[in-house]
């Protein structure tokens, strides 16, 4: 009998120690936050399923969850395989839209970020230049990316160039502004010390202003990519012919709400994944490190 008791209590003990182990590993506070935080999501999921089962709202308002996933499969069913998807063959509808949008993001980032940073740093270094360019930047930022869309359509017609331009525009001005402010926050005395040590203009940029403006630049990157992504989706909706924004707009016109839901979910996932796993850690890593070493005046 003592054997049975020993076994039972050892099972209990094993469970208890496993529980403690998990809690120690993840940290009880974090675990609690994770579990608590997922409750609303679970509730929404349950409500969604119940809505489909009990038909509280018609399917055209809230599509069954299964249909949303089904739409993904339907859109891709004619696809000629991964090779086709990667080469953006016409048959792979969903992946085409996703890659179009992401492609524009990457292109706009690759062009817009360096340009914005470069101009911003230059503007920030020269007091006179910034006095004139800052109002321009303020005004350009105030005409939000979206308001540029009709003009872009006039210039480039409906298509990928318009959408690319809008995102580029948004990113450029935000990066310009943030870089300029970042450089302005670096005390003049650092530049002077490099110059008096015999450094050249390039040295000053590389050794003083670029590192000094880094926190603003990284934060600016995160903000501009966030706003740029939103502007891109809007541009694709209004003036595009491909991409996720275009897809959800057209699907809405055709009342294919499950495709709309699918698109919106994908759009949010892309944004959240990039922001949470790429940009936020980058910002944390650089800005916090830099923040420890140096704070702007």
């Amino acid at each position: 009998m003592s054997d049975a008791i020993a076994k039972e209590s050892s099972a209990e003990g094993a469970f208890a120690s496993l529980s403690v182990a998990i809690q120690t590993r993840i940290g009880r506070q974090r675990l609690r936050k994770i579990i608590l935080g997922s409750i609303p999501f679970v509730v929404i999921f349950v409500l969604w399923q119940m809505n489909t089962a009990f038909e509280w709202l018609p399917a055209v308002f809230i599509p069954p969850l299964g249909d949303v996933f089904g739409a993904a499969i339907t859109l891709q069913e004619d696809c000629v395989g991964i090779g086709g998807a990667l080469t953006m063959d016409n048959s792979c509808l969903l992946t085409n839209h996703i890659f179009s949008s992401i492609g524009r993001v990457i292109l706009a980032a690759v062009i817009g970020l360096p340009l914005g940073i470069a101009f911003g740093i230059l503007a920030g270094m020269n007091r006179t230049v910034s006095r004139y360019l800052e109002p321009v930047g303020v005004f350009a930022n105030s005409i939000s990316g979206i308001a540029w869309i009709p003009l872009a359509i006039v210039w480039f017609g409906v298509g990928w160039m318009t959408t690319l331009f809008i995102m580029l525009n948004t990113i450029f001005w935000l990066m310009f502004f943030n870089s300029m402010l970042g450089v302005r926050s670096v005390a003049k005395v650092y530049e002077q010390s490099v110059l008096t040590m015999g450094g050249s203009r390039m040295d000053v940029i590389r050794q003083v202003y670029f590192p000094g403006a880094m926190p603003s630049i990284i934060t600016g990157m995160r903000i501009s990519l966030g706003f740029g992504w939103r502007a891109l989706i809007a541009a694709e909706m209004i003036g595009g012919d491909s991409g996720l924004g275009f897809m959800i707009f057209v699907s809405a016109e055709e009342f294919k709400i499950e495709e709309v839901f699918l698109g919106v979910i994908i759009i949010s996932l892309i944004y959240m994944a990039t922001d949470r796993y790429l940009l936020a850690p980058l910002e944390k890593w650089t800005v916090e490190r830099w923040g420890l070493i140096w704070k702007p005046t």
Binding site: S19, V20, Q23, T24, G27, R28, Q29
Partner: protein
């Protein structure tokens, strides 16, 4: 002498915040605080003093044992038990006056009445002239005076203090202790305060509850029979009763500290 606070058989467990391991904070605590008494609770770190205070304040629910104030079970925070927190908890966006009057404001008493009472307590704690200042304009000692005034102004049955003078410098601390003594004499309030400092406990308390190391048990009660009016720091070092009591408490606490560190 009526007992204002009666605790019987109070025990408390809780799972540790970070590892989930069960912590036995208090073990079978039974004590009484009489009307007008100033009692202190001393013990080594981790002996459950703060847990006890939080339970008595009603901020921590308890399952085993009973705790009553004037015969009524403690079931949550309330104005009958005023609390002075370790780190000042006066609201930063209210002036000294508005902070001190906060308890009465909550009870929706008429404004003239509040103003009168507030002025009494401003004067009592020595903050005259600072009525319209904000907390960030006050020193640490003054903030705690304001906190004490706030608690007293709300006229609780018992005032609970959680290491109220731990966050100020040594000089201010001595001054505040003498102040608290003076206030206790003037208001005849029932006070229970938690402290790390044996000196402080011996100086202020009529009775001192010494707790053991975790799990916290009531180890011993040390009585200190010095009239309130005689409790002045400059004279304490010549007072045999004080020295004796302090030695005794110190010895008891030291025993527990070595027990705790041996674990």
């Amino acid at each position: 002498m009526t007992a204002k606070l009666v605790v019987e058989g109070l025990s408390h467990h809780y799972p540790d915040e970070y590892t989930g391991v069960d912590v036995h904070a208090l073990d079978n605590i039974s004590l009484e605080v009489n009307e007008g008494e100033l009692v202190s609770v001393v013990g080594p770190s981790g002996c459950g003093k703060s847990t006890l205070l939080n339970i008595l304040a009603g901020l921590l629910p308890y399952r085993v044992g009973s705790a009553t104030v004037d015969g009524v079970q403690i079931e949550g925070p309330g104005p009958d038990r005023g609390v002075v927190f370790q780190e000042h908890a006066i609201l930063p966006w209210r002036t000294v006056n508005r902070n001190i009057g906060h308890g009465l404001e909550i009870r929706r008493l008429p404004r003239e009445h509040i103003a009168k009472r507030v002025q009494e307590f401003v004067n009592l704690v020595g903050l005259t002239g600072f009525e319209d200042k904000y907390p960030h304009e006050l020193s640490g000692g003054m903030k705690q005076r304001c906190a004490v005034a706030r608690t007293l102004c709300a006229d609780p049955v018992i005032m609970l203090m959680d290491e109220p003078f731990a966050a100020v410098d040594a000089q201010t601390r001595i001054t505040l202790q003498e102040e608290l003594n003076r206030i206790a004499m003037a208001t005849k309030k029932t006070i229970l305060f938690i402290t790390h400092s044996v000196d402080e406990a011996a100086f202020l308390a009529d009775r001192c509850f010494v707790f053991s190391a975790r799990p916290g048990r009531l180890k011993e009660i040390v009585e200190i029979n010095i009239p309130r009016a005689d409790r002045i720091w400059s004279e304490m070092n010549a007072n045999a009763e004080f020295i004796g009591a302090r030695e005794k408490i110190l010895k008891l606490v030291r025993e527990e500290v070595s027990v705790a560190t041996e674990e």
